[in-house]
Amino acid sequence: MRRTFAALAIAVIVAASVLFTVERHWRGRGYTPIIVDAPDLWSLQRAKATSAPNAIVFLGASRTLYAIDRDTVRSRLPQYEPVMLAMDGRYPLATLRDLAADANFRGTVICDIDGAGFAAPSLDMQKPEVDFYRHEFSPSRAAHRLMLNHWQLDAVIARSDFSMLRSAVRWWSDEGAPFHPYQWLDRRRFGHIDFERGDKESQKRELARNLERFGGHLPRIPFAEWWPQVEAANGWVRTIQSRGGDVIFYASPTSGQRRWAEEDWFPRNEYWDRMVAATTAKTLFALDVPTLRDFPLPDDSHVDYRQKPAYTHALIDALIDRGLLQSDGGK
């Protein structure tokens, strides 16, 4: 008995001291705890989309993930439960398909998508998370993730960049210190970008490089290859609507060279307008709304976290003004 208790005491003291020292080391270098996005975190929200009958689900990629302010949605649309299912860098059609296939989903979907989002290579971008939710997510994983959220919010060392292996790799490869992230999520997956800390010019430069690579014009996707995904999406929209749910396709704003590139890549009259004519979903093109069209986007694409409430107000105003959403509790 004495041996076991002594060993336990030694283990707890030594392990706690080492971990505390490592934590202090990284905090001393300016790192702070963050939530790390993962399939089980996404699945928690995906489960909420089904269980909450009044869910308003935000689909899309980084532009929506980092732009929607949850508190603003709650205050402006108190009848809805906001659910964030957008994913950084990945278009949302696979998730829309999954919501359509879910007989229990009856919520409202705001699906942020542009011309490229309907292209065939974009179709299954979010499928790995959907598959995880369908086949691997379980009550046990949900409980694990809820506890892990607390650990990640409290400890810098919960981030894989500070793992023993990554530290060894950095040392071996003579890499510098871990990246200081300027974008982060909260535990409900609503994201934030702080452009005062980040390099807002890097995305602009990346787009310029791409344009240069393709001789100033991104390669067009033929309409015939693009349209089948629109037809499939329209089928999913009808399925959701038949259960009492609703879908709004929303093309979020861009500015500067990015706006020019997107219009050049998928001219509105050739793509978006033809989709609008064919779909039963409601639609909103942000560039048609002055407050959204002129909204400040530091990297021509994303909203700074300080501007999120204003952006969300502008979006909700536009949706209500056009009768796409109602603010009084009805849809």
Binding site: A15, H144, S160, V169
Partner: protein, 471 residues
């Protein structure tokens, strides 16, 4: 629920506390374990808990009927049990495989058959608990064990949560006495169990998931570009991953059981230090290899019918052993390769013995390295998504190609860790981990636990499902 989740930490603390409540009788403590096992399994997919209970109940009832019948009239009950267990396994695990192969065969005959895909979700641990339950029925049929009259105790034997989903496959004769003798958590059992649990978690989280998997996975992805260096590092990393993943699970299971006062058999004994394929199967997944020996190889005749007969039995056993791991021909190829190696080893036994006598310990080391090479080559079939990919990796391994890219730091670390692991296996070939841990003093134990905890906490990353859950 998996051992490497925070859910399990909370669950297990609660179970240990409730199990040791002083006011509880032995029967009540068994109820606690049964409820905990149901919760543990149901936390994955609640409907499959009903399947587990139904499967165990059917076997319990069939065994009762069997024991009540005269020895000459037992066979029908055994056949029913075999049909129930293998039917369950066949439906859930091999249904799609059979459908796809029938479709291919019919296509060869010019018949176009387009059945709907089954799209069946595989219940976690079904291969383990059906084999465990099947062995009980066969033992009752043979008269090797006394029938269990308590349904609660029988379901607890099948569903005891530490070993439920990925083994070790426990024999009823090893567990029945533990069901009858009251048990509690003891200080020594707790210390041993915690040591094993932490070692198992270290193997899984630090070695398998953090170090080996990120190097192995890209090589085995469809469409991967594979040169010789990538093929070897990927295969070696997978060898490390599958051992640490599976042995890690078994070690956690044995540790959890020990903390509750139960004993489970060893499932691994330094397998990469094996000096021959027969030796490998005495060290790798011991509970499955002994199961296959006792319930398949020996009933087929074992080595009693002469050389050719023995070789047939070896091949059949290993082919079915391969198929047990998964419904794919790549697993059958993996089993066939091991069967072939066992046959070759058997044929070459006199030469091997002579060489061992002449070469001494150098010969033993040489035998170990040749076995390791063979095991590595076989892992390619086990992990590859199809034969074409396996052939591509084998080609790159055996016919060196230009290696233009330098190895990444991650790959170098994986190779170093695998080398150290192999060295540990070699040095520990004849040692027993449990005995070694029992002899450690408080200070040594405390520092071992602290090192393991720190390593585990400082290895956050992608949590991967235990590989053997899919089997």
């Amino acid at each position: 629920m998996t051992f490497d989740s925070l859910t399990f930490v909370v669950f297990f603390i609660a179970v240990v506390a409730m199990f040791n409540l002083p006011s509880l009788s032995w029967s009540a403590r068994k109820n606690v374990l049964l409820a905990a096992s149901f919760l543990f399994y149901g936390a994955w997919n609640p409907p499959f808990l009903l399947l587990l209970i139904a499967s165990a109940t059917v076997d319990w009832w069939l065994a009762l009927r069997m024991s009540a019948a005269r020895p000459t009239q037992r066979k029908p009950w055994l056949i029913l049990s075999l049909c129930a267990n293998l039917g369950l396994l066949g439906f859930f695990k091999y249904g799609d495989f059979l459908r796809a192969n029938t479709q291919s065969l019919l296509a060869l005959a010019g018949i176009d058959w387009q059945p709907a895909a089954f799209d069946i979700l595989l219940p976690v641990g079904i291969s383990f608990y059906t084999f465990q339950s099947l062995s009980y029925c066969i033992d009752v049929y043979r008269g090797d064990v006394r029938v269990q009259k308590s349904l609660r105790d029988y379901v607890l034997f099948v569903g005891f949560f530490p070993q439920l989903v990925a083994g070790p496959i426990v024999r009823y004769r090893d567990f029945s006495a533990q069901l009858h003798t009251p048990r509690r958590t003891t200080a020594d059992g707790f210390a041993l169990g915690l040591s094993l649990l932490l070692i198992g978690l270290f193997e899984k989280i630090v070695l398998a998931d953090s170090i080996f998997a990120p190097v192995a996975d890209p090589v085995f992805q469809i469409g991967a570009t594979i040169d010789s260096a990538a093929a070897w590092t990927g295969t070696i990393a997978f060898a490390g991953q599958i051992f640490c993943d599976f042995a890690g699970y078994s070690t956690c299971a044995i540790g959890c059981a020990a903390m509750l006062g139960f004993w489970l058999p060893n499932n691994f004994r330094s397998p990469y230090a094996a000096t021959g394929f027969s030796d490998f199967w005495r060290r790798w997944h011991i509970s499955l290899s002994t199961w296959l020996r006792d319930y398949l190889y020996l009933p087929l005749g074992g080595n009693r019918g002469g050389g050719l007969f023995t070789m047939r039995n070896l091949m059949l056993t290993m082919l079915l052993g391969g198929l047990w791991h998964g419904a794919a021909w790549t697993f059958v190829a993996w089993g066939a390769f091991h069967g072939l190696m066992l046959v070759v080893e058997r044929l070459a036994r006199p030469t091997i013995d002579r060489a061992s006598r002449v070469l001494g310990s150098v010969g033993t080391l040489l035998g170990g390295l040749i076995t390791l090479l063979g095991v590595l080559i076989a892992w390619v079939w086990f992990r590859a998504p199809d034969f074409a990919h396996a052939a591509q990796i084998h080609h790159a391994m055996l016919l060196p190609t230009d290696t233009s890219a330098n190895l990444s730091a991650e790959a170098k670390i994986a190779l170093i860790v695998f080398s150290l692991m192999w060295l540990m296996h070699w040095l520990w070939r004849h040692h027993d981990l449990r005995r070694w841990l029992r002899r450690r003093g408080a200070v040594a134990l405390g520092f071992i636990w602290a090192s393991l905890i720190v390593s585990i906490v400082l290895s956050p990353g992608v949590s991967r499902a235990f590989i053997y859950f899919q089997f």
